[in-house]
């Protein structure tokens, strides 16, 4: 540092007054340039001249990134100071990387960012919790436009924003985490590893895409119950509030029949849902129930373990009018699955394409051929329908199989 000051002094002595060509550049343009730099560097420009003293405070983002910020407790104070001095009314990005801080500080900063209409929050944080003393460093995640990506380790996390459009919640490992989401403008919601997460959502009338991935195989019995409750809560809210849902992906790895609990008795419709992807072991009644409320469904992708299938009394409207594509992943060729396939083929009146992928690549050609023979004899409700049965390993077998019809 000493050396730098010296060289600057020398420079000062030599300098001949010249036109500050950069004064041609408006402050906005300078702030635009600085916005590509970490906050640390934009703060460092305050040394250049009086005009630059607080220019950094007008840079639309705050980026306390990984490369330029050490993991030291005193940096919390620095961030605090910077946030207080920062003057921007609409922030684009607020990024924190591996900062030690307590949850109160973190909540304060996020509150400030949200009050400044932040569009992106990107947190990669290490939070010391009294009960769980081990420090956890969360993996890097990606930032998206108009989104918050929150990886964290906190007891309760409130996400509240009137403008938030995209939200990814990814909280691995924390068993007692609660997440409250109040984001009425949200359009995209992704929740990963939420097996242990209590998620409480407020109305999201603009939501068009929800991707809920439940991903935990090692839950104990009581955790399963707890998890069921929170997911049930989430799902009942989704049912109740998401009238614009266009795509809905639901996946998990543990066998639960929670949809049965929550979907049945629902009088709500997913009027705008056109694509439904299910990757879970779903009860047949829950599946039919989902199809009933998704009246305009066009694409159905099921990667499910159908252990039982029974014909429903009434055919869901989407099958009669809209469902054009069905993909069945992980077919095991059980009788119940054949019944399901038969049901879809008979009742889906506008179906154009059904794809079936078998679960076990060991299944020999003979078995597959028999299966195709069997399926080919099923009654077709739609004349335009073509069926395709293929290995998961060979997804693009065109015109090789007996059932490929134009």
């Amino acid at each position: 540092m000493e050396k730098t000051i010296q060289s600057i002094d020398m420079h000062m002595n030599q300098i001949v007054p010249s036109i500050d060509r950069l004064s041609d550049l408006p402050d906005d343009a300078i702030c635009h340039i600085l916005s590509f730099l970490p906050t640390k560097i934009s703060v460092a420009t305050s040394i250049l001249a009086k005009r630059w003293r607080f220019l950094w405070a007008h840079v639309p983002n705050l980026d306390f990134g990984r490369c330029d910020f050490s993991i030291k407790a005193e940096y919390s104070d620095i961030i605090h100071r910077i946030m207080l001095l920062h003057k921007v009314k609409s922030m684009t990005t607020f990024r924190l990387f591996h900062i030690y801080s307590d949850k109160y500080q973190l909540e304060t900063w996020i509150t400030i960012a949200i009050e400044r209409n932040v569009q992106n929050i990107d947190l990669h944080i290490v939070v010391r919790l009294p009960r769980l003393l081990e420090e956890l460093i969360i993996d890097e995640s990606y930032i998206m436009d108009e989104s918050y990506i929150i990886d964290g380790k906190l007891d309760c996390f409130n996400i509240s924003s009137p403008t938030l459009k995209k939200l990814t919640v990814d909280f691995p490992f924390n068993l007692d985490l609660k997440v409250k989401i109040n984001a009425p403008a949200l359009r995209y919601l992704q929740v990963y590893d939420c097996s242990c997460v209590y998620i409480i959502v407020s109305p999201m009338p603009s939501l068009i895409e929800a991707d809920i991935c439940v991903n935990n195989c090692s839950l104990e019995e009581d955790e399963v119950v707890k998890f069921l409750r929170c997911l049930g809560l989430l799902f009942s809210y989704l049912e109740f509030l998401l009238s614009n849902l266009v795509t809905f992906v639901l996946s998990k790895q543990i066998p639960l029949h929670f949809l049965d609990i929550d979907v049945s008795g629902s009088i709500v419709q997913f009027d705008h849902l056109t694509r439904l992807e299910l990757k879970l072991d779903i009860d047949w009644r829950s599946l039919i129930k989902l199809l009933e409320i998704a009246v305009n469904l066009e694409v159905l992708i099921v990667d499910v373990d159908v252990s039982y299938w029974m014909e429903a009394k009434q055919v869901p409207i989407c099958l009669l009018l809209h469902l054009r594509n069905i993909r069945i992943d992980q077919m095991r060729y059980t009788d119940h699955e054949f019944n399901m396939v038969r049901y879809f083929l008979r009742n889906a009146k506008v179906l154009k394409r059904m794809e079936i992928y078998c679960q076990d690549i060991e299944i020999d050609f003979k078995a597959k051929f028999d299966a195709l023979q069997r399926i080919s004899l099923f009654e077709r409700g739609s004349e335009a329908c073509q069926t395709k049965d293929t290995d998961t390993t060979e997804k693009k077998i065109e015109n090789h199989l007996p059932l490929d019809e134009e």
Binding site: P17, R21, H32, I33, I41, S46, L48
Partner: protein
């Protein structure tokens, strides 16, 4: 001097405009390229004038901006090609040149070029000595040594471990 843009002679069907730089050079630009600049678009919408005089952009900078606009207006080029053109466009350019470009894009309101240039300038500025930045930006240090030392003390964290280079 009338220069056609990179797409070659313009067909009679295609509308074009003449843009004049502050030093009097004139450039013939297709309208589809010109309207990528929000400012030019506004001018063209307001009046039928086919000659636009830009009093604060010199001919070198204007030629570069027009080359950029023409490339981006070319429907025959894929987005990937345009992206690699953008990379090529800013690489190896002097900081000074980029400064005039960022000023011009600010005046002409060409958002995507402004982004590309500003990002490049930020990349160059990274890890440079204070002195380097002052020199390249022609900034006169109007702090007293005491005031400067005080700022360094206040925000010492901003300088503590920077890898500095000087050109």
């Amino acid at each position: 001097m009338v220069t056609t843009d990179e797409k070659g002679p313009l067909t009679a069907k295609k509308k074009s405009v003449i843009i004049r730089s502050c030093d009097g050079d004139e450039f013939l630009v297709s309208e589809s390229a010109a309207v990528l600049s929000t400012s030019l678009k506004k001018i063209l919408e307001e009046k039928e004038d086919r000659l636009i005089h830009l009093s604060d952009i010199d001919n070198k900078t204007l030629a570069m901006v027009i080359a950029y606009l023409s490339t981006h207006a070319d429907d025959g080029l894929s987005d990937d090609l345009k992206r690699s053109f953008d990379q090529e466009f800013v690489s190896g350019k002097e900081f000074d040149v980029l400064k005039y470009l960022v000023l011009a894009t600010d005046t002409l309101q060409v958002t995507c070029l402004c982004y590309t240039v500003a990002k490049k300038m930020a990349d160059i500025m990274k890890n440079k000595l204070v002195e380097w930045v002052r020199r390249e930006f022609d900034i006169q240090n109007d702090y007293t040594p005491e005031a400067e030392a005080e700022i360094r003390r206040l925000d010492a964290w901003a300088w503590d471990d920077r890898q500095l280079e000087d050109d």
